[in-house]
């Protein structure tokens, strides 16, 4: 078995034009879905009547169905929707807008869950302490609760971003000219598909690792108030020591809660 390395170099040169397209999709989706996801999380936490159920259903649907099904639905439903609303012919729309829509809608659902669990990790006592120094609930939320929640959400935001980057590789299905689409076209001439996809793979590895490094630096910068965490070396450096996304540790929490109380009780007795 031998790989056509000349061809790989050629694909690498042409497919790099798709990198900005992929990055564009990821950035647009992230910038919109971060605030919206945060808002949706708040709707769920504060049980806003009416909206809560809608958000719940939305998140459940998006998380319970394949991204490919979502792509196909948006790609087939939006042209007629747009036609109805603005009467503009659908084929005149740059397909990248469909990609923006699909991946934003998808990320919103993921990030809603991320923010929801992050907001829940902030201790109730933080709000009480804010009230007891005379701050309003809203002031306490913006100044104390939200900053802490954002930082504890960072690892899961990283995961959500990686998930988004990887999913964006399906944009070619909507005929967006991204990395995969370009490589695919190149490969079709001589059936050098393996070489083409290996190149695409490498590009995605580079993009994902860069994203991880950026988020790692962000995390290190912002979590200076958690200085007691252990030092970083080659082996526990994030890209080499993957944390599992979305650890649903509710059972654990109640457990530690209980042991905490048990300890308190023991202490009380002793005193």
């Amino acid at each position: 078995m031998s790989l056509n390395t000349d061809f790989m170099v050629k694909v690498a040169q042409t497919a790099i034009q798709g990198v900005p397209v992929t990055l564009q999709i990821v950035l647009v989706a992230l910038l919109i879905s971060l605030p919206v996801g945060c808002l949706f999380a708040l709707i769920r936490i504060y049980r806003v009547k009416g909206l809560e159920q809608i958000v719940k259903l939305y998140v459940s649907f998006v998380r319970g169905t394949p991204i490919i099904a979502q792509i196909l639905i948006v790609y087939s439903a939006f042209p007629s929707l747009l036609n109805m609303i603005i009467g503009k012919a659908a084929f005149s729309i740059n397909p990248i807008y469909y990609a923006y829509i699909v991946f934003t809608l998808n990320s919103i659902a993921t990030l809603t869950e991320v923010f929801r669990s992050a907001l829940q990790t902030v201790d109730k006592g933080q709000m009480e302490a804010g009230l007891m120094v005379g701050m309003q609930p809203r002031q306490t939320f913006w100044r104390i609760i939200l900053p802490q929640a954002l930082i504890s959400a960072l690892p899961n935001i990283t995961n959500a971003t990686l998930y988004l980057i990887k999913n964006s590789s399906l944009a070619f299905i909507m005929s967006v000219k991204d990395i995969t689409a370009i490589a695919k076209t190149e490969a079709a001439f001589n059936y050098n598909f393996l070489e083409a996809y290996l190149v695409v793979w490498i590009y995605y590895l580079i993009i994902c690792y860069s994203a991880e490094v950026i988020f790692y630096l962000l995390e290190r910068y912002f979590s200076k108030f958690r200085r007691s965490t252990k030092k970083t070396n080659l082996f526990n450096w994030r890209p080499l020591s993957i944390k599992q996304p979305e650890v649903r540790a509710e059972a654990d929490l109640t457990e530690s809660e209980r042991t905490n109380h048990a300890q308190n009780r023991g202490l009380k007795k002793r005193l």
Binding site: L131, M132, G134, L267, K269, L271
Partner: protein, 246 residues
């Protein structure tokens, strides 16, 4: 100065507080003692409006109203005139020791930043932690965190400071430093209401001791009354138990 009458609170039909009345005068140091589950912590949380009481009346800082009828302005008035020291410190994790103290001054009291920092530094000095002003809570020991918590309450210069079991979460060897700070505050004439299991503090520092059990105030009086000649059987039993275990 602070007058509570007939305070009631229950959860799911379980009455925790069955009509508590309490008078706090300026300069009082009141210790509330009693077995676990007697409603001591709940009492503090209801007076300070962290929880909404089911019934009772409060007279404090110009507010004169039933607990159930408190509007948001009353609640804000009450909160701005009390200080609270939590069992688990509850320092703002994303703020340094100094910022923990300035936060309330700047945001709630609208004090200028410069001025707030000056007040905060003084408060830190009083609890002996001015060298830790730029440390985050995670970099402080439990005892140090609680001292910052006390400084945070003191800096706001409230009419009365409530302490909710301030030493219960601490390792035994760290209890002393916190008690010392509290004793200094008492000596300086700070009005304090302290829920505690530290019988030495209750006996030697406070001027009034309240013994609570099962949601009632069983007995109250001077430390001598309560510790030397308790008149109620419940009080005697409690004190015998707890002193035997020290």
């Amino acid at each position: 100065m602070l007058k509570i009458e007939g305070l009631k609170k229950g959860y799911d039909g379980n009455e925790i507080l069955k009509g508590i009345s309490l008078d706090v005068n300026k300069g009082d140091v009141i210790s509330i003692i009693g077995p676990s589950g007697s409603g001591k912590t709940t009492l503090l949380r209801n007076i300070t409006t962290l929880e909404q009481a089911d019934g009772g009346h409060i007279q404090f800082a110009g507010v004169d109203n039933d607990f159930q009828k408190l509007n948001s302005k009353d609640i804000q008035t009450i909160r701005r005139n009390v200080g609270f020291v939590f069992q688990n410190y509850n320092l703002f994790n994303n703020k340094t020791a100094l910022q923990n103290i300035t936060e309330g001054l700047i945001v709630a009291r609208k004090v200028k930043k410069r001025e707030a920092e000056k007040i905060a530094l003084e408060a830190l000095e009083r609890v002996g932690l001015s060298d830790r002003r730029n440390h985050y809570p995670s970099q402080l020991s439990g005892g140090q965190q609680q001292r910052v918590g006390i400084a945070r309450a003191v800096a706001l210069n409230p009419q009365v400071i409530f302490f909710d079991e301030p030493t219960s979460a601490l390792d035994p060897e760290l209890v002393g430093e916190v008690l010392k700070v509290m004793r200094n505050l008492a000596d300086e004439g700070t009005t304090m209401v302290v829920v505690t299991h530290q019988m030495n503090f209750a006996r030697n520092v406070s001027n009034k001791v309240i013994f609570m059990a099962d949601g009632y105030i069983v007995e109250q009086g001077s430390p001598e009354d309560i510790f030397e000649h308790p008149s109620e059987k419940r009080t005697q039993e409690f004190l015998t138990d707890i002193l035997a275990n020290v």
